[in-house]
Amino acid sequence: MAAGPRYARAWSAGPLSTSANVIDKILPSPAAALADVPDGATVMIGGFGTAGLPDELVEALIAQGAKNLTIVNNNAGNGDRGLAALLAAGRVRKIVCSFPRQTDSWHFDRLYRAGLIELELVPQGNLAERIRAAGAGIGGFFTPTGYGTELARGKETRLIDGRWMVLEQPLHADYALIKAERGDRWGNLIYRMTARNFGPIMAMAARVAVASVHEIVELGALDPEAVVTPGVYVKRVVRVERARTAGGGFKAAA
């Protein structure tokens, strides 16, 4: 047998290469990279505030039309664009995040108050570790974070080395939309400063990780000692124009 079912499944999630012998994960556009997102998918979106938020991929997801989505992101959208626009368009059934309330999260606020969106609120470190656990094949973990609070209500607890801990579950996704600085056709990625945030772990946790990069370089051009996300975690890479990251999520100075 040429390929077992696991291999076949993994390969089918990648782009359709013109040559079976060449690993080439580069797609021509965000739209091409997200063409197959089905209704009801769980989609992780990288970024903390606006740093690392893959605007072009989110815009492409809006245009693509998939609905009834579950979104995993640290926040719940800023202003009227990107994730906020996806929410405003009524395409998101549920959001898993740590900090939805911001000074410019009016679309989420309205939907939440109207009961039109489900919120799973997760402490930020638990959110990150649940994503990491999914990518690492861990079936759950005990953490002190949240013990005795309403965010741990109903969860299994255990006294470990004299400290009470809460059982948290891994968080998987169908797709991860992440933003990196530079990549190559194998999907190796490096990031830019604090825009790294959720990118590396979301890439691990999703069946199909799609990375936008500002620059695509030849194989071997990225310093192997400095590659943050090895290409094995990334299924699709798309180049987008470099745009200066705008601020967001905080009160403007008076």
Partner: protein, 211 residues
Amino acid sequence: MKRWNRDQMAQRVARDIPDGAVVNLGIGLPTRVANHLPPGREVMMHSENGVIGMGPAPPPGAEDYDLINAGKQPVTLLPGGSFLHHADSFALMRGGHLDICVLGAFQVSGDGDLANWHTGEAEAIPAVGGAMDLAVGARSTWVMMEHLTKTGEPKIVPACHYPLTGLACVKRIYTDLAVIDVGRDGLRVLEIVDGVSLAELQAATAVPLHR
């Protein structure tokens, strides 16, 4: 009653941060502590979105919103600083590698329970961020807050009635009236604002104090 102003509070906290400490300053009032570190004191500032060795805000015009702190404000990186992804950044605090975090609070109980993330009002949209991870993760969790609410109620209480952030996690409380240690033997007053008596401080505190 005489009080420390916010800069004096920040100065007082900053004085207690030792050389070489790995420190995380919470959003809001605690952020001010960075402006008052004594000259020459070298600490490593951590921000949970994924930076260690964080420097002060950049000059106007030099902001780069790929380099921000947990409050999403632009910051700088000191020589020697580095970046972490989110899972590593929270492992850093949970794993006992963060010496001190300074957090704001709605209430602190006599046992060191902390409430600082949610007022619990039905209309309020809950948002927790890294508060719960910081509260239980840092080796020392310090709270920095006004001693009384705007309506004059004590914020140090026998039991928090706001939703909890963490149980028995606060080690020290810095207010505009005093510095108080939270220990097994209760709340011990380390320092009071000049001109305020222990009796006056006790009257503003809903938990017994001792010196």
